[in-house]
Symmetry: C2
Subunit: 115 residues, 2 copies
């Protein structure tokens, strides 16, 4: 059970920006060069590069240069920690609902005993 998990920090932070989500969605369809990635955003290249490095930092994207072109690829397994975290929260929440349920049942039983 991680107390401080910088992985989740980076993941969630990377996804909190619409431009970065747009870039990621594009990359989910297949690899792309930086310029190609930048085009639909309407942003300048240095700006896009920065977004790209945030995505790399989060492990969501890997890149490699081939010639003068940098090719970027989506890494779907990087989303796993997020799914895991969601699942963990869901379990905690449902355990709570179960306890609530037990409690309500107890109340009903008490009422039955009284009658």
């Amino acid at each position: 059970m991680a107390k401080h998990d910088p992985t989740l920090d980076h993941l969630f932070h990377a996804l909190s920006d619409p431009t970065r989500r747009m870039m990621l969605t594009r990359l989910a369809r297949g690899p792309a060069a930086v310029t190609e990635l930048a085009a639909p955003t309407g942003l300048r290249l240095p700006t896009v590069m920065r977004h790209l490095s945030v995505l790399e930092e989060a492990g969501l994207v890997t890149t490699q240069k081939d010639g003068r072109v940098r090719s970027c690829a989506f890494q779907p397994q990087a989303l796993a920690p997020m799914r895991d975290w969601l699942e963990e929260q869901r379990k905690i929440w449902e355990a709570r609902l179960d306890r609530l349920d037990d409690y309500v049942m107890t109340l009903m039983k008490d009422r039955t005993d009284e009658s």
Copy 2:
């Protein structure tokens, strides 16, 4: 298909901070007052209040005052847009894999035709 979805922005941003995730995990176990929520963080109250309002902004938490104590409650349905987004990405990715698969099959067929 949302182009700019501030909901996702707020959601992911809210979850990008370990303190806020800790608070949320605590609240998943059941409602709590602000002070109770602050205790395990080691942070001052105003700081925690700020985190709390970020969580509220994202819809992840609702609060209400009764007496002088503010009670905070987790809102699990607020996580739905995130699940949806994840699912959307997964679909795009898998569609891509399917296309890749088709392509490989085509290549194999060509090789077979050649032999």
